[in-house]
């Protein structure tokens, strides 16, 4: 994505690396990996075992990270676009996931909270939930683009009301689906040893990269984010582009809704995907993307999402006590965000340059 990076011939390899946007997330991952390697090399062990339905599946911390980080990676895609185009974040993601999941279960159960069999094929239910999630995305997008409301305020509406809407869709019932085929999307497809969410995430990532490569979405999003007026003067319609990014966010939300619901075959409106928007925003920030919009690096955001999951798994692995968990995470987050801040990066760049100059002298 970093095609337009200017390579100065006299710049050292090191300083170019430091300046690269992927540097921070990769560095964070390396630190975490080395830390785990020293503390317990078994962290990296992957074994083949059987699950209770008799399938051979891969097990181990790394597999768990790829598995559990999938939702975050998918949301990071949407959040990156939303951030780039509108210069703000969508904080209604978790609530929207609850709505999408609720719609999915409503269609699958056909209004019955304990259906004997599925009332509709999963693909139909999923498509309807996509549609609903995209509508809610469009709602957010219209508020932001046409009514010029701050993204965080606009999405606050759905953040507050979303979980109630989700509960209302199912008349406050908690449908439980017993059909095992729903479990494939958040677990394993029989005969495939790799967790399905990882495949779903991989497909989403592949699609967004193809879209960015073969359409002008990336370019248009960035130009709107950098300067709305000049984008307008160049014949773009900033409003439409902003709404599109929120609709794409909605699509990501629906996919995550499917995975989340599939993982436990039911839903809890108040806890499903709770606070996931904060992790998604963090993934974008960790990827070195400016939260004020403009240029973005999709790969870095997605990578950032897996780094966050890596961190979470590491904290679980070391059994950090319940009370202290948020504090540890906060410290790590502060460090990561500070070193990825543009001013600090610039300072780093200057230091390495000076160092080099001195060496030459």
């Amino acid at each position: 994505m970093q095609k337009n990076e200017v390579k100065k011939p006299n710049e050292s390899m090191l300083s170019r690396m430091v300046r690269h946007q992927m540097f921070i997330p990769v560095l964070a991952l390396v630190i975490l990996a080395v830390f785990n390697l020293i503390a317990d090399p078994a962290f990296f062990k992957i074994t083949v075992g059987q699950n209770s339905s008799g399938n051979m599946v891969l097990q181990g911390f790394l597999i768990s990270i790829l598995n559990d980080g999938s939702e975050l990676a998918i949301l990071a895609i949407g959040m990156t676009l939303v951030t780039a185009a509108s210069g703000g974040q969508d904080i209604s993601v978790g609530a929207a996931v609850a709505i999408a999941g609720s719609v999915l279960l409503r269609i699958l159960g056909g209004g019955n909270s304990r259906p004997e069999e599925l009332a509709a094929p999963i693909i139909v239910a999923f498509l309807v939930s996509c549609l609903v999630a995209m509508l809610f995305g469009a709602f957010n997008g219209v508020l932001v683009a046409y009514f010029k409301i701050q993204p965080m305020i606009a999405t606050l509406i759905l953040y507050t009301a979303g979980r109630s809407i989700a509960a209302w869709i199912n008349n406050n019932e908690l449908p439980v689906i017993t059909d095992p085929s729903l479990g494939y999307y958040g677990g394993f497809i029989p005969g495939v040893p790799i967790p399905t969410p990882f495949f779903i995430a991989a497909i989403c990532v592949a699609i967004i990269f193809l879209v960015l490569k073969f359409t002008n979405l990336g370019l248009y999003t960035q130009s709107v984010g950098i300067n709305e007026n000049s984008a307008k003067l160049n014949g773009l319609n900033p409003q439409v582009i902003k709404v599109i990014t929120y609709v794409i966010m909605g699509l990501c939300v629906a996919v995550v809704g499917l995975i989340k619901v599939s993982r436990i075959s039911t839903i809890n409106y108040s806890t499903i995907a709770k606070d996931i928007e904060m992790d998604a925003i963090l993934a974008v920030a960790l990827g070195g993307n400016a939260l004020s919009g403009g240029k973005f690096n999709m790969a870095a955001s997605i990578f950032g999402a897996y780094v966050i999951q890596f961190l979470t798994s590491t904290l679980y692995k070391f059994k950090v006590s319940s009370d202290a968990l948020p504090a540890y995470k906060a410290v790590v987050v502060i460090v990561l965000v500070v070193i990825s801040a543009p001013t600090v990066k610039e300072w780093f760049g200057n230091v390495t340059k000076k160092f080099k100059v001195k060496e030459v002298a």
Binding site: R114, K148, L156, A161, K317
Partner: protein, 376 residues
Amino acid sequence: MLKKKVAMLLAAAMVAATVVGCGGGDDAKTDAPADDAKTEAPADDAADDAADAPADDAADDAADAPADDAADDAKTEAPAADGELIKVGIINNDPNESGYRTANDKDLQEMFCEANGYEADFQYSKKNDEQITFAQNMLTKGIDYLLISAADTAGWDGVLQDAQAAGTEVILFDRVIDADESLYAASIVSDMEKEGQTAVDWLAGQGLDEYNIIHIQGQMGTAAQQGRTKALDEKVAAEDNWKLVVQQTGDWNADNAKQVVQSVIDSGEKFNVIYAENDDMAKGAVAALDAANISHGVDKDVIVMGFDCNKWALEELLAGNWNYDGQCNPFQASYIDEVIKSLEAGEEIAEKTIIMDEKGFDAKEITQEDVDNYGI
């Protein structure tokens, strides 16, 4: 400024649209009978009857009137002895919070409606300050009883004093408040510590040689978490063969619980008990066990324990997939009704704190009847 106002209006509209049920319906109904009687009853004093006279008179008058709906409306009023509804203001937590709260709210809605002689105003919030504002508004409007399930234990003194000054009786349900006992008439609560103790006693009764426990806690600091954790902590400290493999919060969330258990499985440590502080988290834990082909349930490798008695959880017990589920009784409405009835009759309340009857279910003994009766 305008944009913000528009945003807030929209938010308010959406929230209002989602609060469907007895709360909204009641306001409409309370106005309806009087209006109908006024416009349609033939007798000129019918309007007065409907407003003041004993309920059966009003019912008769209304029944003579041609409109059927007027008769229906009037009849629903009849059970109240003197034709006046008892006004109650009910402040509860967000009904979407959990299956427990949904059942709790439904129970209250069914009890406190006009058929039972109540005019109820329901307000929901999971924020203490909002709840306090609701309470003050209700007191200003004038109510006979104020029922509170407080989001937080502190900050209620002022409201309770205002209520006392206004002659409104306060009844606490589900959760206690840090306030002097003289400020409220009764409190109907679950004893979370007892719930934990019952569960731990049951676990001790299983007679395992070693207890290697994965303890998944609820949201830290909540009464349910503290009560259910305390009994287990004490037991682990007291017994040599009881050990916590991990003690971690799952924030009531199935997904988090799954990750905690997954992490223990990945690290290869041995465990034979999962003590999850609610059903959702037990479910998440079981999902992790299934993925690793670790058997669980009656006479299997891992004992699974949950709380709250969701219907689906009790069905897991019935199928032998889980071992134990502790009840957290959400059905407080009948207890509250009893308290109000005796206060109306001018009786003294014998005990201020009424602790609800709560059971623990063992997968070996549970029956379909239990699932139907106690599942929420």
